[in-house]
Symmetry: D2
Subunit: 333 residues, 4 copies
């Protein structure tokens, strides 16, 4: 029973069906009928005019956004435990042509407004230091915490005050939205977010993510950068179709709810062992090496996050017995 990563889960059957259904002759690249429906679909979802571009990976979505929001000679404020810092092999440096990541700390991989202020004020306003130009946060965070709309709004204020572009890595956006109950609009553009990496691949999609541009003036440039990065699929309809299937009947929310519910079940069983509150679909649990081994012996697979700490991730398709069994196993430690 694999609680290693939501990355590895199967895609939802509706997604596979959508790919199959879109497999017919149409215009290449993003001129097809599925791709053409994305702007409208996301504009409806976000209650404002947006531009939406499909890409195949979250790294591509994140880095295309960052490249559009930060010049090569600028810096991007982000959490020291963020995905863009730790898990993208320097892709932000590649896409932005060398911009710096300016790391801040904060509990649960959350960025707080005063951390942004401190980062900005540490930098001399001269040509000798890379100046902060962009803020990037992850929602839900790498430790499974969800930002409230008010929290994002406070960051958006800080960003505006210092003329920073504002990017949200939403690899687990569904889990965050389900967790807080905030509307997609409230937690993004109404809070000052310029661009959102809207993740589907961890939530039942196969290989489709949507890059949502609330600053629609960036769309032309981002479309060029996407092509230049080799991310303009000739049969892009297969990505668009996946995304539309996920939006259809709120499948993305339904999947997020399943994963979050499973995480709650496990989190409750973990009780005082929890390192962070469980707000999305990740559970960090304090266990000894022996305890970890005993869980593995029972057939559970997971990530050793740090000494004495394991990470469990639930997926959209995990519920019922395996989850209950894991919860029981943890409770029994």
């Amino acid at each position: 029973m694999r609680f290693f990563s939501d990355n590895a889960a199967a895609a939802h059957p509706a997604v596979i069906e959508a790919i199959a259904a879109s497999n017919r002759l149409d215009t290449a690249y993003d001129g097809d009928e599925w791709s053409q429906r994305l702007d409208r679909a996301f504009s409806d979802l976000f209650e404002t005019e947006v531009r939406a571009l499909w890409v195949s990976t979250g790294t591509a979505a994140n880095c295309l956004a960052l490249a559009a929001l930060c010049p090569p000679y600028g810096a991007i404020i982000c959490h020291k435990d963020s995905h863009i810092e730790n898990d993208e092999a320097g892709a932000p440096g590649f896409y932005t042509h060398g911009a710096k990541l300016m790391l801040v700390d904060g509990p649960g991989a959350k960025v707080a407004p005063d951390a942004v202020e401190a980062a900005v004020s540490r930098i001399r306003k001269d040509v000798h230091q890379a100046q902060p130009k962009t803020l990037s946060i992850t929602n839900a965070t790498e430790y499974g915490l969800a930002y409230s709309a008010a929290e994002v709004g406070a960051l958006g204020e800080a960003a505006k005050r210092h003329r920073l572009g504002f990017h949200m890595d939403g690899a687990r956006f569904a889990n965050a939205i389900v967790s807080t109950g905030a509307s997609p609009a409230d937690v993004t553009w109404r809070a000052g977010v310029d661009a959102l990496s809207f993740g589907f691949a961890k939530n039942g999609g196969l290989n489709a993510e949507a890059l949502i541009l609330f600053r629609t003036d960036l769309a032309e440039e981002v479309a060029v950068r996407r092509k230049r990065a080799g991310h303009l699929l000739s049969k892009g309809r297969m990505l668009a179709a996946q995304i539309l299937a996920m939006l259809d009947n709120d499948l993305w929310l339904q999947n997020g709810r399943s994963a979050n519910a499973a995480a709650q079940t496990i989190g409750k069983a973990a009780g005082d062992r929890l390192v962070y509150p469980v707000e999305a679909n990740e559970i960090f649990v304090r266990v000894s090496a022996e305890e970890a081994a005993s869980l593995r012996a029972k057939g559970f697979d997971f990530y050793d996050w740090a000494p004495g700490e394991i990470r469990l991730v639930t997926s959209w398709d995990q519920s019922g017995e395996p989850v209950e069994r894991l919860a029981a196993a943890i409770a029994a430690l």
Copy 2:
């Protein structure tokens, strides 16, 4: 009836089935069972040990290869009508961090050894000029010509003489192989090729291409560059499965044969109107504007390549009646 581009065609049903069949929990990225089989499958096909990496687009395959073969301060010799020069939005400049494309000319978008020699000898051996470090050719070419193994071998000799890396853009590799009857090995590594972009998306694949490294020492670096470019899908098995389906029972050759046969039918009808001999699945035909309009009026779609010249491209799934009708329409002009 669309003869616009092989890009836009549907994927082969076996490919869609393979994606569906691979849609189950497995290790993320390229640790899954399908991805793990690629090296073996292509090593068998090429009769030597190779490393094979999936990517989503031909641009990514080309540019990852070029970045591994050419330093940022070097130059890449290629045809002025090549895809990397004209149709990748400057992606080679992005991936190589600014290397130059050093353009040569030649009939049918073919690069000849003496063109390589001339390009090399034009450059002073000093620090003021970007030095050629890599040669890139397309097979079949942008005008539908296929290189013989001997022709590639002569280029490989030139490359070796001048210490150039040697890359082959095989977006239409199947069509080329079918055309010449050469073995995949003879037309690539035995002829000096270091890296091949082995295309599937134009030949019945959905969004999978294979980057074949005959210089296996490059594999580690290329794998890092792939991740850094955002091209490491979390569910990479969906790409590997497509490729394996294409290799299975030589589906890639079968599809290439279909497309080439259709092109032959049309090419024969075009007769003296042909701009280039038809060796793969592209047909360039001299027609007046009125003639082009009359073909369109009959329901045929294609690309106006140049004044008085149209491009027709056949796909793996085009045969029988529509092709016959197009041939007849052209013959009747």
Copy 3:
């Protein structure tokens, strides 16, 4: 007697004196009194408010300007024989992060408006091709021709029409100005030029060039890029002092006049052998290999430009007897 290049000549004594005179404690970088005077001095010279930054080389001046005027995914229209294409080791690709040079042809290395139009119209307006964003010309050209204000103005119109930034490489700006008699303002910003690399090193300076920004809004970014490229000298006063010495009493024009006069003397002697009219300080002469050898035997040094063609370059400090002797030697061929 060296007619190889104006690069190699000695600096004017006034320049060396200015360096020595500026050699005292002052604020570092460009906070010193000399650097602070540059904006004013060049604003007076150009009859408009400009921002002027010193750099050590023409390559740096050119490429900082191009990086500010062209995004990484854009293209720069320039002559195929331009310095940025042929003699800067791919520096434009480095500074712009991979922008393409889009080459045009034209007699005497001059770019004509219709060549710009043709280059622009050749490019499809889609994401598959790098879009032209900047025009760069050299004045005087690599073959020693000077643009009239009207010629530059026509190019400026074309640039405006297609929203291209407009850069002038003025490595031999003094020679051009002396040649046409145009005012510096007329041949630059009044004609639509956004940025000028104002060369001094070939005209009596030691290692100082001025990057003149007519678009003063670019100055902040360019200052950052200069630092980031390692071109912000800690004792920048030594560059500023050189430049001010060159502007003082129009030394730059006086030096340009000397070099041009010497070139005229030689050019007249060459008569029908001239490949291009002599308008600045370069003379291209058709000579046989034997004739070239006979000139060298007489002690003259120069560049073999092409088969049957030599390049002679005069410097600010070349006049009188050696020039007369060279003229006589050529006339006697």
Copy 4:
């Protein structure tokens, strides 16, 4: 009396004389007689065959070395207070095409071997994280500490163990050498250093630094990168002549001794107020805001480094009365 930075000091008269003396026609770029003598001069100094290239700034020297030692997708281990991290406007990101700086901590801006080990071991050996490829240290450090040969050697061992290139930023190399009495060879290549930025501009030079390559195989590539960065002066003899003048009669050591002696005088007066031991030419002193103001009122200029802490820097030309007066003023606080 300015104790703000050694950057701002005047150049030594011998340096200005050397520039003037080299101001005559010679071969351009680095073909002149002065430039040609550098390899020999530094090979003698370092007791091994080295390649030495002049550049105009320390940032250029550092970043050319880093670009040669670290691929774009790698990481460079350095101190969080290093110049390359804090004071070069992201130039390492520019020159390396986006490599990461991997920051370590340590007292006095010194990097210790166990900090290198910890940094390396923190990184998973997979494609998701940028892998450390280079180590860069500063000697003397940003806080004026000098590494012993043994300390550098231990770092060199760590670098070798993890296959890291090893770069030393020697902006204040003279002060470090004078401080420890180590031989230039012992503290560099014998200790495993691959490339040294040998600074002169802070030590009596005007605008010349030497990049010393102990790995001579890198020289060809670095020479190309220097040109590509716009750092190949056409009259490079003016840089080479400065450097030769500094080497002549050990002027560099003599200047370093003067600056260090002045720093000792001040350091002794500061006594318990010292933040770090004074080993080179920088003195960090704990003073209250009022005390800082009183020093300024007496005519001393310096940098407010941190709350309650000032930085004083002595230059090669500071000795005698001003230094004694500053020492007395600090002692009297």
